[in-house]
């Protein structure tokens, strides 16, 4: 079912995801760059090594926006992740402001055309800044943080009741764990022994206002998750092979959380100049700053295969 990639090929894809996002951010004078720095390896690992997905069943160039869901119209972007079969995995993309990273992943894994990204954040397109369920690669609407994990849990229970063998993968960020709903969901997942679910978390220590421990210190997520009855493993989240290995952890009736400790400036060290203001980048301080990033981009481009 799944195209097979070597770890080296998957790493190249991660590098290209990061490079594509960087290119887009430069062309648009800003955007969500640090999210790609931290999570490119996670997205590549999910799409090329971990998830069991069928080939895309969607047009290479996304069709224009028609309508939000009504009793007469519905569009779902999950067909970019392939046709649903009882054994295929589901992907729930929780922090939808990572849209640019997801779309770039679809391009680098051959599920969407590069032209698709030209529609990003343009009027009348589904390739939205903050993705909704009509956006490419999205199964549910999750821009209101922490709702993804609960929706995924409902879907996982539904799949269990239908005796489907496919699993449910959720991508989250550590910032989301400030929402009480996450802990309601973890409690429920443990209670119902939902081991067909795995949550892969970009632990980059950042949130909108800055460094998480300055905004609201969440302390040790691993300890908290284990106390709630889940299985939690920590890995270096910029080490693709380590993520893949962690995804194979024996679950024994528990939902799995892979806490990927990442560097939000990984491979773009120039961002250190503005840390901790890295949630979004805007090139407003003149040509000098942008030149610096352009040089960093050119250097990265030489490295990427």
């Amino acid at each position: 079912m799944r195209q097979s990639y070597t770890i080296e090929e998957s790493q190249n894809i991660a590098d290209r995801i990061r490079l594509r996002v960087f290119d887009h951010v430069l062309k648009n004078n800003g955007g969500y760059l640090s999210q790609a720095c931290s999570s490119a390896e996670i997205f590549s690992a999910l799409y090329t090594q971990i998830m069991n997905l069928n080939e895309s069943a969607a047009p290479m160039v996304p069709e224009p926006f028609v309508s939000v869901p009504t009793p007469d119209y519905y569009r779902n972007g999950a067909d970019y992740n392939g046709k649903r079969t009882p054994d295929s995995d589901l992907f729930i993309f929780s922090p939808s402001h990572y849209g640019l990273v997801l779309y770039s992943t679809l391009i680098e894994t051959g599920r969407m055309s590069p032209e698709g990204l030209e529609q990003f954040n343009t009027d009348g397109s589904t390739v939205e800044l903050i993705a909704a369920e009509h956006s490419p690669g999205c199964e549910t609407t999750t821009g209101s943080l922490a709702q993804g994990i609960s929706q995924a849990a409902g879907m996982a229970l539904g799949r269990r009741l239908k005796h489907e063998s496919g699993g449910v993968w959720v991508f989250m960020t550590d910032g989301e764990f400030a929402e009480g709903q996450v802990w309601e969901a973890v409690m429920t997942m443990a209670n119902y022994k939902m081991d067909s679910m795995a949550v892969i978390v970009d632990v980059n220590g950042q949130q909108c206002d800055g460094v998480m421990k300055d905004v609201m210190d969440q302390l040790d997520l691993k300890v908290k998750l284990e106390a709630f009855g889940a299985l939690a493993v920590e890995v270096n989240g910029n080490d693709l092979e380590a993520i893949v290995e962690a995804s194979r952890t024996e679950r024994n009736g528990k939902p799995l959380f892979i806490l990927c400790k990442t560097d939000p400036m990984y491979k773009v060290p120039v961002m250190k100049e503005r840390f901790p203001k890295i949630h979004t980048i805007k090139f407003t301080s003149g040509a000098e700053e942008k030149d610096m990033y352009t040089r960093s981009f050119e250097a990265m481009k030489k490295e990427v295969k």
């Binding site: 009793p71 609407t141 709702q147 609960s150 929706q151 879907m155 539904g158 009741l161 409690m187």
Partner: protein, 337 residues
Amino acid sequence: MEMVDRPYRDAFLQWSKDKEKVVVLTADLTNSCEVGEWRDTYSKDNRYFSMGMAEQNMMSFAGGLAREGFFPYIHTFAVFIYRRPYDQLAMSIAYPNLPVRMMGFLPGITTPGGVTHQAIDDLAIMRATPNMTIISLAEATETETFLDAVQAVKGPVYVRLVRGSIPRLFDVSERFEFNRARVLSAGDDVTIFSESICTEEVMRTSEVLKAKGVNVRHLHISTIKPFTDPQIVEAIRDSKTGVITVENHLVDGGLGTAVSEIMSQHGMPKKLVKLGLQDTYAHGASKNYLMKHVGIDGMSIVGAVEKMIGRTLSIEESMLKEARIEPVFSASKAEAL
């Protein structure tokens, strides 16, 4: 007047028997929402799921189950459906137009539980929620017969339900009809719209008013959204004086507002008196006390009619109490016969 003990409990238990995709979610209020027996009967079939006191997760979780082809019937107090987890309701259920059925108990002032338990703003909030269908019930025959109509709706449905012993006001042969007002008395002196527990009060009142020579056109409303039955426009147009609405809810955003919107859309400039909670919360007390306190009891309705027709009618509260209420056929059907 016949009182029926827990009609919802038995109706839902029977109705859902052969509907394997109908599942129940509760948040620690299972017996309190009349599905304890349902749990004991269908748990073995993996159809009942206790979600604990965690409503935010429950709403999004129900959305997930609905995406997989199930029909989650959420049972909890109404306030814990639309007030506490509203963002989850809107984003995980209403936006994607999923067939989640929300059974909200303790509507309006039907509970002595006080402000935290009284759903006085649910109609306003749910009417302002796109894709939502809203049903309001407080009568036995409708409570026994509404479930097919709910299941026929493609998207989410919110139902405000009264638990325990409730009156049978409508003949057992007159099943619930979706988006159809029930004309309970004919007349053109004044038109009254009512929902929930207020319908019984209006029925008592209109009997007494008739004896005083005031003919009331009384429409009982159980589908709040959509609100497009042409009988509503006719009833407003035919009234010689004006329109009174009586609701177990705030006067803002509920039945009275829906009627006022129809009046303005159709260019029918008439007086409108809205009875209900007037921009205020309620407190914990008995239903009878609270109905009087917030002005939705029979004497409040009499007062509104007197104002509307411009004369006093010398009606005593004891006269309303003595009014006999028997299960009725709706006036439209009586005419058809």
